[in-house]
Symmetry: C2
Subunit: 221 residues, 2 copies
Amino acid sequence: MYDYENTLVKVEVLNHLFMFDKGKIKILLFKNEVDPYKGYWFLPKGILLQEETIEEAATEIMEKYIGLDSIHFTINHAFSAPNRIPTERVLAVTTIGFVDGVTLSLKQEETKYDYSWFPIESLPKMVYDHSKIAGKAIQDLKRILSSFSNMRQLFPSDFTLPELQRAYEEVYQETLDRRNFRKKIMTLDVIEETGENNMGESGRPAKLYRFKENIEGKTFL
Amino acid sequence: MYDYENTLVKVEVLNHLFMFDKGKIKILLFKNEVDPYKGYWFLPKGILLQEETIEEAATEIMEKYIGLDSIHFTINHAFSAPNRIPTERVLAVTTIGFVDGVTLSLKQEETKYDYSWFPIESLPKMVYDHSKIAGKAIQDLKRILSSFSNMRQLFPSDFTLPELQRAYEEVYQETLDRRNFRKKIMTLDVIEETGENNMGESGRPAKLYRFKENIEGKTFL
DNA sequence: ACAAAAGTGTTTTTTTTACACCCATGT
DNA sequence: ACATGGGTGTAAAAAAAACACTTTTGT
């Protein structure tokens, strides 16, 4: 009935890992060192094995690449053009995950890979269809990060309101009024003061906040 | 390096086809006639072949099942639990598409399959993990149908405002005020009168509308 | 004392909600 | 003439937007 030889495909998992750093949302990319596409960048990736879910594969990929085994990924999309990789048919399932700078600096291990964090509005040349793939994920970021439980993954604790505001300004690509932003966040009742101040920067110290526990389902928009 | 025997998986495409009929958003399901799960219902499905994209496979699946070869599907999600089907490892990529009653009655062909349209709030027993899969798609419908270019696929031409309102009430699971609904739609400038009236029903005839051309990017919410 | 960035309230505008009567058709 | 469902406007409430000065720190 079926041609079973024709029904098996290789599946790769491509991760988008986002982080917020110095007022920019950034994505983790790795540098490709071999031809073709030498010098181009790629999304962290791995082949899906028989006994694992896509989500598990995604987490394991990050362990392999940066030694961090606790990042949770959700499925974003699938790219299935038969010729998206010229030499063989590879179905790509893409995922999105978030990490914060503190976790990263504490837990990230040495890696043999050449990596860099790129602001999402200025991506480098990327291998194969990775630019298109990353474009889709970045486009979906707007919706995904409107959920506070996702934004929290970028800001786990002790963040300032101006920092959070900059993240939303990045996501929505528009500047927000400081007073209105604070008012809105406070009305939504999703953060609380830690009692500490963010000392050491120039200018008046900002209060530090953390997200409250029960913010599931609450969104910025 | 890699165990290549371990890197090939079977991929099935599972389609969610939605339609609006008699005030309800409905999904097309087929009845399974063999054990196990005899009498349970399943999403129209097919195996992804080497030379086709998921989107192409989705369209072809509907041609096979109901003889309609023009339905466009977009990828919704992927389900990859290794044991989601006990007998073999099958990765499911799911899609969502829409069809309107007029197209369906004009173009649908005879089918050997036993099918039925179920209101999305009362689904029958379904095979394997299809209930969970359909639940995810139905959950995402709210967001997807807030885009008028998607809602248009359910209402291609000559619909009445009360009909459109009922669709939104279904999607958002809340009743809307008739005057406020009309005002909002008109403010958004997405529909125009056809000049015809919907005669033959009881009560005052409703004006008939069609969506305007340039509604891309406009959303109800 | 000066520069830098954060904190704070009020007014205006816009958007959303609430609400009731008349109209056109079929029976 | 009656039943059925569609069409219409206005006022109140809520949400969003506009806007400028003061405070706290580092240098």
